[in-house]
């Protein structure tokens, strides 16, 4: 009987040890530059995540096959978040210990997870990148040293879309009516302040119509749009809401070439399911689709040629979201290069150093051309008081088979929009008791 109990005790102890072992973070990697990837490949937005993170990982593989970042190899771990905030935080905490030495920018591709990580990453001194999503007021780097809403934000994008429409209408939108049809969530509501400011400035009438998540029934909304008879519909949709909007617009007889979507409403996943209802529909984007970008073609040749590609469904190669994933990885790697230029070439960079790299990034067209990434990104130049770095988008139109660019880079109205961020950031700093850095003084010191 004692023997039995001892066996039992041993079994309990062993299983407890197993459990503890499984729960403790994985062992520290070597001196690689470490990317933590809280990504998602299942769940409601799994298809989008597969394309985006497929592109991201393929570029990292590509960098490694080309000898790393100035000789520093890149390592990464994925962790499935299912686009769920709590799981995202769990993933971050799990991979954090591995990333604590040489943290590369963290991309969550989820506004909610980014929000939850903003304070944590600042406390842990790890750079958080939010390319085209996330906490937009983090443009003000004086309050958010570790958060980077890179390339452009919802507000700047909305402003750029207004500018596009203005140019189309001979420079004035006075007296026009624009409907803003949005996903009723943090994502959809962010651009409202920008659009309200633009409507005051440009004297057009703005009608806001929310669509409840997930947006697969929009009869009432489009009925209202029909009554309002707007000149344009700007749509901030996500997932299933986009194709439903396109199909309903067709049914209600609203011309699709008067509809402009945000860049999350402008991928192949949004228009192909809508069939011919999507023809003529426009959306904002900062990267082109297709595999004729030299870098994408090279990735296809080098990485997929060697059988190391990440996509299981190779038809996603060269889609908007795939290319966007590549552009996110390019930007991260370039930030690390910038940091290396200051802190020592051929060394892995710490989170703090990468943060410096992200804040002093200067990605010119010439550099993009060297990388073969022309068309994947606008020029990006960041600073302490501008963590966005660009604010430019292009407008593309779906011709029924592919996306065609219909504009050059359009920059939003920075003088109008950036003060909104600063006001928000100031309020945030007050609520949280953060003392902002003095960007002007830091710039002078340099």
């Amino acid at each position: 009987m004692f023997k039995k109990s001892r066996q039992f005790a041993i079994a309990v102890a062993a299983s407890a040890a197993c459990l503890a072992g499984a729960f403790s973070a994985p062992a520290q990697a070597a001196d690689d530059q470490y990317f933590m990837l809280p990504d998602y490949r299942v769940g409601p937005y799994g298809a989008n995540g597969q394309a985006f993170y497929g592109g991201f990982i393929d570029y990292l593989t590509y960098v490694n096959m080309k000898g790393g970042i100035d000789g520093v190899p890149v390592a990464w771990d994925e962790c499935e978040t299912e686009y769920n905030n709590a799981k995202g935080v769990e993933c971050y905490e799990r991979l954090k210990s591995k990333a604590k030495n040489f943290a590369a920018p963290i991309h969550t591709m989820s506004t909610g997870i980014s929000y939850a990580l903003v304070d944590k990453t600042a406390a842990d001194k790890m750079p958080l990148a939010m390319m085209g999503y996330g906490l937009t007021m983090a443009v003000d780097g004086s309050v958010f040293p570790y958060a980077f809403p890179l390339v452009t934000t919802y507000q700047m994008q909305a402003s750029a879309i207004i500018k596009f429409l203005k140019d189309k209408n001979g420079g004035s939108l006075a007296g026009k009516k624009i409907v803003f049809l949005y996903h009723d969530s943090a994502y959809g509501k962010e651009p409202i302040i920008a659009l309200e400011a633009e409507s005051r400035l440009n004297k057009f009438e703005l009608v806001q119509i929310p669509v409840a998540h997930p947006g697969n029934e929009q009869g009432a909304q489009w009925q209202r749009i029909r009554q309002e008879k707007p000149d344009y519909v700007i749509m901030w949709g996500w997932g299933v809401m986009n194709m439903t909007a396109l199909k309903t617009a067709q049914k209600m007889g609203f011309p699709r070439d008067k509809m402009i979507g945000s860049w999350w409403a402008g991928s192949e996943e949004d228009v192909i399911p809508a069939g011919d209802a999507a023809k003529g529909y426009m959306s904002a984007t900062w990267n082109v689709s297709g595999t004729n970008v030299p870098l994408i073609a090279d990735i296809e040749k080098t990485v997929y040629g060697a059988g190391k590609g990440n996509l299981s469904d190779k038809s996603k190669l060269g889609t908007i979201l795939y290319n966007r994933g590549v552009s996110a990885a390019v930007l991260s790697v370039e930030a690390i290069r910038t940091a290396q230029a200051k802190y020592g070439k051929g060394k892995a960079m710490t989170g703090e150093q990468v943060r410096w790299g992200l804040e002093n990034l200067n990605l010119t067209d010439a550099r993009l051309k060297t990388l073969g990434a022309t068309g994947l990104l606008p020029e990006v130049k960041t600073s302490c008081d501008n963590h966005e770095g660009s604010g430019k988008v292009k407008i593309q139109q779906w011709d029924g088979a592919k996306w065609v660019l219909v504009s050059d880079w359009i920059e939003g109205n920075k003088a109008l929009i950036h003060p909104l961020f600063q006001a928000d950031a100031k309020k945030y700093a007050k609520e949280k008791g953060i003392t902002p850095r003095d960007c002007a003084a830091e710039a002078k010191k340099k």
Binding site: N85, S185, E431
Partner: protein, 358 residues
């Protein structure tokens, strides 16, 4: 032979009515508390604190709240996440709008606000029961989330509707490390769990159980139905509200209404079903099972896959994880429909006789 109460005589009513009448239980719980308050803070890593222990405690509290309503008072509810949202947003508003408001008072007021909303949505329970009531509480789930999204005032005019809460400081001490944060949550959850345990042993708890078992009979023996049911809704929502406030302040730091979705309500419901309906311990066991098992599978499956040289990519692992998780829930429900708490009870009965079963 180790777990036997032979020779433990109770000479006072107080001794007879204590929560843990058996000495071994008392020692066990003291050990557990020592581990929770001293052992874990000494040895656990930051990952354990922030990603496992704190969410576990918070969800255990929410499950406890639902267990009071569903397990003890027999009123099925699908609105737990919404009541958590009320708590989170109420605590945030009290904290941000009232200068110098102590955090603990905000939590308390958040609980009370949530209780008030709970009473409001508990009113239909006076006329409808069972599945119909579940549908009525479903209305709370959708209405509250809609309300928080609709009125910018509730999120202090945040342009996105997401609130980002200030840090927790009590009497000048900032709870900003994972360890202190854990201890704060642990203390609050423990206090509330103790209160709940005593509540369900009191006449209130007995009234709840009487209503649960047969409300007509309860009414005949003089229990006021309206009062009892609404009290259950209030207490349950209070617990969920405090859990929601802790969820926002001590766990995520920033929450949005959509985060408190129906999914989360279901998750809390599964916790009490798996853990044990009508059991305080069950709330904790259920929360541990539902929260920790997916994480455990998530970490161990890729390791197992690489050990066996299976060509799994991340997506496959996630799918397998969901399947295993679902299968395990079914397994437990088939083997022990009364939940993990009942298993524990059976184990105790067996231990009492062990090693001489006759």
């Amino acid at each position: 032979m180790f777990y036997r109460e032979t020779g433990q005589f109770k000479t006072t009513y107080a001794a007879d009515q204590q929560i843990f009448p058996i000495r071994q239980d008392r020692i066990g719980i003291l050990l557990l508390l020592a581990v929770a308050f001293v052992g874990i803070p000494l040895f656990a890593s930051e990952y354990w604190f922030t990603a496992i222990l704190v969410p576990f405690l918070i969800f255990a509290l929410a499950a406890l709240g639902l267990n009071i309503l569903t397990g003890y008072a027999g009123q099925l509810s699908l609105g737990s996440a919404a009541f958590m949202a009320v708590g989170a947003y109420a605590a945030y508003n009290f904290q941000v709008r009232v200068e110098g408001m102590p955090v603990l008072v905000s939590f308390l007021l958040a609980g009370l606000t949530s209780a008030a909303v709970g009473i409001l949505f508990g009113l239909p329970s006076l006329r409808i029961k069972g599945f119909y009531l579940a549908v009525a509480t479903l209305a709370a789930q959708f209405f509250i989330v809609w309300c928080l999204t609709k009125f910018p005032y509730l999120s202090n005019d945040s342009s996105s509707g997401v609130i980002s809460v200030p840090g927790v400081t009590i009497l000048g001490f900032a709870f900003d490390t994972p360890r202190s944060n854990y201890l704060l949550v642990l203390s609050l959850v423990l206090l509330l769990a103790l209160a709940a345990k005593n509540l369900v042993r009191s006449s209130t708890g007995r009234a709840w159980m009487a209503v649960r078992d047969m409300d007509v009979a309860a009414e005949v023996i003089g229990i006021r139905l309206m009062h009892t049911k609404l009290l259950a809704f209030a207490v349950s929502s209070f617990y969920c509200g405090v859990a929601g406030a802790l969820y926002a302040f001590c766990y995520l730091g920033s929450v949005e209404p959509d985060g408190f979705s129906l999914d989360m309500s279901f998750k809390i419901l599964f916790m009490i079903i798996v853990g044990g309906v009508g059991s305080i311990l069950g709330s904790f066991l259920g929360a541990a099972f539902i929260l920790l098992l997916p994480i455990f599978l998530d970490i161990s499956l890729p390791a197992v896959a690489s050990l066996l040289h299976l060509p799994f990519d991340n997506a496959t692992v996630s799918h397998i994880q969901l399947m295993v998780f679902g299968a395990l829930i079914m397994f437990f429900l088939v083997v022990e429909p009364h939940g993990l708490a009942r298993l524990w009870q059976i184990a105790k009965e067996k231990l009492r006789l062990w090693p001489f079963p006759h």
